[in-house]
């Protein structure tokens, strides 16, 4: 048997013996970014189809979670930077060749959209201030209490804010069109970010974009069905999720077919998952716990069995998070040998 032993005197931290430049921050950020993209996608989608009444959680509560996810994701991203005080350099240029550049811009633009979206629904979500005194005092700089005989007992402090709110409410559909486009960009970006690196054979596959988008939508659907208090909404999102799981399994099958039929470095990359060191963590956490068991539970629910919705929802979120952790970690191990 032909053997090749490579020795090198180099021992640079985080690069030798295996590359480990990206730690927990990147997978956490990819997960939160995908979740936010999915939540904003569903909010925009049900606005565009005119079903905001039937899907209150997706349209009104989802974007709030999305905003928190984006903010936490950005914090994770900032923690990842080794030269964080220079982060603003991201916004001095647009480099279309670099997914990280346009991803940073997409995040930068989608965040104010989510804020405006949430603000325009705030009167519907919190019509009365009495029960939310603490929350109200936090927003005192921007809202004032009004007479209690109306549907809501508060209003925006400034006239231009009230006018802006009316404008947003009137133009919800065009707004939703813009947001749905940006949410898809954000969702695909979380995958493309990795697939742009041809030096890491595990990542360098174009199916990663759609796969991460589907996974993000799936985690978002799980979040909505978990949060929702509306029975029909729960059922619809449980079905959407089931469909997304099937699509995800289909993409993952394709992913592995691509590796196994690929060049030597791709075959080696696949071996980390087909007998190598990531086999158990991937197949148990991502495939069985994250996709197959939730799919079975959701199917049982469709057959009128009683399943506590928290179990499949939590499993899907767990699977989505683990998927990103494993992909980011394993991708850095795969490389070209020479």
């Amino acid at each position: 048997m032909k053997e090749e032993i490579i020795t090198s005197g180099r021992m640079i931290p985080n690069i030798d013996p295996v590359l480990h430049v990206w730690h927990w921050q990147i997978p956490v950020y990819l997960f939160l970014g995908g979740l936010a993209a999915g939540l904003l996608f569903f909010a925009s989608y049900y606005t565009l189809t005119g079903k905001t009444k039937n899907f209150p959680t997706a349209v009104k509560i989802g974007p709030i979670i999305a905003l928190f996810a984006i903010v936490l994701g950005l914090i994770a991203l900032l923690l990842d930077l080794k030269h964080p005080l220079y982060f603003w350099q991201l916004y001095t240029t647009i480099r279309l060749e670099s997914p990280m550049s346009w991803g940073a811009w997409a995040l930068f633009l989608i965040m104010p959209m989510a804020v405006v979206w949430i603000a325009s629904y705030l009167k519907e979500i919190f019509p009365k201030l009495d029960s939310r005194k603490k929350f109200a005092s936090l927003l005192k700089f921007i809202i004032v209490e009004t007479e209690t005989d109306k549907e809501f007992n508060w209003d925006w402090k400034f006239n231009w804010l009230r006018k802006f709110e009316q404008f947003v409410i009137k133009e919800r559909k065009p707004f939703a069109w813009i947001m749905i486009v940006f949410s898809v960009i954000l969702g695909v970006y979380t995958g493309i970010l990795l697939s742009a690196f041809n030096a890491r054979p595990l990542w360098n596959t174009s199916i990663l974009g759609p796969l991460f988008l589907t996974s993000g939508l799936s985690t978002a659907a799980a979040t909505i069905m978990w949060m929702s208090k509306n029975h029909t909404e729960k059922i619809v999102f449980s079905r959407i999720d089931l469909l997304l799981i099937v699509v995800e399994l289909f993409f993952i099958t394709h992913l592995f077919m691509g590796y196994v039929a690929g060049s030597q470095v791709k075959i080696d990359a696949a071996h980390y998952f087909l007998g190598g060191e990531y086999t158990i963590s991937f197949w148990v956490n991502v495939i069985i716990l994250g996709l197959i068991i939730p799919a079975i539970l959701e199917s049982l629910e469709l057959l009128k069995f009683k399943v506590p919705i928290a179990i499949p929802a939590a499993l899907i979120l767990w699977g989505g998070l683990m998927f990103r952790f494993i992909m980011v970690d394993a991708g850095q191990v795969t490389r070209y040998l020479y």
């Binding site: 048997m1 032909k2 053997e3 090749e4 032993i5 490579i6 020795t7 090198s8 005197g9 180099r10 021992m11 640079i12 931290p13 985080n14 690069i15 030798d16 590359l19 430049v21 990206w22 990842d80 930077l81 080794k82 030269h83 964080p84 220079y86 982060f87 350099q89 991201l90 001095t92 240029t93 480099r95 060749e97 670099s98 997914p99 990280m100 550049s101 940073a104 742009a196 690196f197 041809n198 030096a199 890491r200 060049s263 470095v265 850095q332 490389r335 070209y336 040998l337 020479y338």
Partner: protein, 177 residues
């Protein structure tokens, strides 16, 4: 102008002089290096073949590091040399992930550091530090666009290979075999 390097694997003894010269010339922080020695042993005992290489950034023609850089800190200067502007680098690590040769690293100050072909020496008509100190004279440096340069002549007459050509980066360090 296209700077390139040819390194004779038959002459290189792996003494690491090039590594130390670079660390000294470029104030490379302790524990890091911009160039390094790789030894590969091929075959089955007792039929073994040894190759020793001095490796560094390949200053590729098709540069994934420049492509993936979100701020434009990684850029190409005259002669095809790839450099990093410190104050534009945010330390995201994208270029490190994109390099098939792992030629880049995080400087302890946060920005990404790498081989510059000693462009500050080239300006004064000097050779890169690693080339100038090599005791076996196994490194050749010059301009590929100049047919009479030492590097053009040697790769025209000797058999050579580049590292990981299948990565599609079109590397510009030629290893004479």
């Amino acid at each position: 102008m296209r700077y390139a390097m040819a390194i004779d694997t038959k002459k290189c003894v792996g003494c690491s002089d090039c590594v130390v010269a670079c660390q000294t010339e470029n104030n490379v922080p302790l524990g890091f290096c911009r160039d390094w020695i790789s030894e590969t042993t091929d075959g089955t005992y007792p039929k073994l073949e040894l190759e020793i290489r001095s490796e560094r950034c390949n200053h590729c023609d098709n540069t994934p590091c420049v492509r993936t850089c979100p701020t434009g800190a990684s850029h190409i200067i005259d002669g095809g040399i790839i450099k990093v502007t410190h104050f534009e680098c945010i330390g995201c690590g994208a270029c490190i992930e994109s390099c098939p040769y792992d030629a880049r690293y995080f400087h302890p100050e946060g920005w990404v550091d790498k081989c510059t072909f000693c462009d500050h020496r080239l300006k004064n008509g000097q050779l890169p530090a690693c080339v100038s100190v090599c005791p076996t004279k196994c490194m050749y440096f010059g301009d590929l666009d100049d047919k009479n340069s030492v590097v053009s002549k040697i790769i025209a007459t000797r058999k050579w290979k580049v590292l990981a050509p299948e990565a599609g980066t079109s590397p510009q360090i030629f290893y004479l075999v």
